[in-house]
Subunit: 399 residues, 2 copies
């Protein structure tokens, strides 16, 4: 086990990422995260009916509240593979548990890549020895790289702080560029922390943090068979335990949300072919579900997304997408601003400077604000534009 | 009034299309359809909250059951323009009614183009004299051309047949390439017929025919502020009147559905940047709404659409989109075929010939069939692929 200096390490966690030949040209495609002691675990899984076998296995194992390792391959999603896919995943989990000398139920698994193809089990099994041997406390970046597919860059975020009278660390990694959808966790997000925390508290806090971060992003409105977010907390910081309803739990949640928000913004910025980061804020809704529905109707509109890509200040498409959301609203009360330009109010366009709006559309980050004037509920969504490269990347993915 | 030979004419209907300078470079942008006698009318309007002023006016007028003229401009949608936009539309309708010497309530209006810009009222008013003067019984193609925006070609369909002991004609025109969404009528579809038909029967039959045609197409899942379908029936054929629950009404409905289906397929084929015509058929659903939801989840998936564009037989994306639909299904019972290749059954990929599937993806028309194995309800949707040109067309639309 090699010890390196790195800014991305968490006490008690080792990681590694290697190439076993699932992807082309010696790219890393098999990663491992390992806690030297069994850790508390919480997780959020995709709601897709055709949830991939590794996730079905994880769902059962996570119920015990303890896990110790997450092995992830890229290049093949092991989804829509039925019973054979399930058996394939179990072969990997069995081999890894033997190599790590831990109980098999402590192994979690992730897979990402093409759907409907069998996992190259032999290649993965054959690499597990090397993968485990190379585990090191500076290996988190390698583990992250090994789960990238169409991602242009790795996504890692870390926060350190004093919680419960001790220094604690929270480090998260994420893989995702397309197929991101609300209510679906994310693609793959793994969080490691040495904080000592009660199982129930971990579960509550993790769900809250995911809801206010990853469940508010949308790249293409598609939801995957393999999306999943997992947190492992190994307790090695030895802090005063974090339990329900404590100020220190609140502090931990803020740090965790911060880590997830950084990852989630990185995912949107790296959205397949994305050239812009767009935030859609809907205020003044009667209910949160109305605000959410309005925000997603705008964020998922291909016409809105292409206008942003083309830097075409065609704001009418935002109004059209809002009107198509199906929520009830008084159109006289709706106010639309893009950046600092007020464009629409009292059901009419305002007399703004078109050059100023054009400038807003030319920026890398664009803030869209809608006020429905009908209540006090709000919702925000982060999204990206729709570019030639989105089409290019996705038209040529499996071949 | 010039009399020309054309295959597209309907007794008692005159039409024309001219350029008044709303669009660039002398393109036709103002069209008129006129029945020499007041006609029975039925219509379907967009459900967008920000329905354009001309549609709001039409909705009121159509309630009277009679109309005689439809004037349509392209290049400006007169939507999200508030009270001023409403007044602009009334100026046009007033000017046209005077020129035609008919009651203003018999004038219907359509607008298509950029949302949020005021209508160039002076240009339109100035052109109305010429528009009316040029009305002729072979002018339907000109009227159609005048309402095109990103359409690559005009869409006209005609059927003739004996109904109620007389020859009758049904001719429809459609304008639409993007922003087409179910439950939303279409973009603009106008149907002219000389059949003699009772108002209630016309309304029932038109809604039924729209539901089984235009409400089953989806190009980009966006629904416009200006979508509308109108039928005018001037009764000049003098047939035995068509009323409810008659065999001849059934025959009329079949002819009408045929006309609308031809238009609707032309609209999908001309979908912005479309290179493929894709039909999604979902069978074996518990309810029609489940079947519909599943079909649209597949049809509106950008990942599925880009795979078709790239001729990439990445069928797992169809399963993923189906699983993301949110309907309940027994995944063991789901069967997926693409063209004549059975690809997925009993929750597992089948042992098909990948070259055969590749060939299916290379065709211009692709049939996707899903059987949910859970009931006897079905739904189909026609859609197109998502190409570079979709992005190109829509990134540069308003500028």
């Amino acid at each position: 086990m090699v010890k390196n200096k790195t800014k991305f390490s968490v006490p008690g966690f080792l990681a590694n990422g290697i190439s076993v030949g699932i992807k082309k040209a010696d790219q890393k495609d098999l990663g491992l995260i390992y806690s030297t002691v069994p850790a508390k675990v919480a997780a959020v899984f995709t709601k897709n009916t055709f949830k991939a076998p590794p996730l079905l296995i994880n769902e059962e194992r996570v119920k015990r509240g303890i896990a110790q390792a997450i092995i992830t391959n890229s290049g093949c999603a092991n989804a829509a593979t039925g019973k054979e896919g399930y058996k394939d995943a179990l072969i990997i989990s069995d081999a890894l548990s033997k190599q790590l000398n831990i109980r098999e139920e402590l192994v979690l698994m992730g897979s990402t890549g093409v759907i409907g193809k069998r996992l190259p089990v032999k290649k993965i099994e054959g690499g597990i020895g090397k993968l485990v041997k190379g585990l090191n406390d500076a290996g988190i970046e390698d583990a992250e790289t090994a789960m990238m597919t169409t991602d242009k860059y790795p996504k890692i975020a870390i926060r350190k702080g004093v919680v419960g009278a001790k220094d604690i660390t929270i480090c998260g990694i994420a893989k995702g560029a397309g197929m991101i959808e609300p209510n679906m966790a994310t693609l793959l997000t793994y969080v490691m922390t040495d904080a000592l925390i009660d199982s129930k508290a971990l579960n509550t806090v993790f769900h809250q943090a995911i809801n206010s971060t990853f469940n508010s992003i949308s790249v293409d409105g598609c939801m995957s068979t393999n999306d999943m977010a997992i947190i492992l907390a190994n307790g090695l910081a030895g802090n005063n335990p974090l339990e329900k309803v404590q100020a220190r739990l609140q502090h931990f949640r803020e740090m965790l949300t911060d880590v997830l928000m950084e990852l989630c913004q990185a995912v949107v910025k790296d959205g397949e072919g994305a050239t812009k980061f767009i935030s859609i804020m809907v205020n003044g809704a009667k209910s949160k579900s109305d605000a959410r529905c309005a925000a997603y109707s705008i964020a998922n509109s291909n016409l809105v997304k292409t206008a942003f890509f083309g830097e075409d200040p065609n704001w009418g498409r935002i109004i059209s997408a809002l009107g198509a959301s199906g929520i009830s609203m008084e159109k006289e009360k709706v106010v639309l601003s893009i950046g600092d330009v007020l464009v629409f109010s009292q059901n009419s366009p305002l007399d703004f400077n078109p050059n100023k709006l054009k400038e807003v559309f030319q920026k890398d980050r664009i803030d869209v604000q809608v006020d429905l004037g009908g209540g006090d509920k709000s919702y925000y969504v982060y999204t990206s534009d729709l570019s030639y490269d989105y089409v290019k990347i996705n038209a040529e993915y499996s071949t």
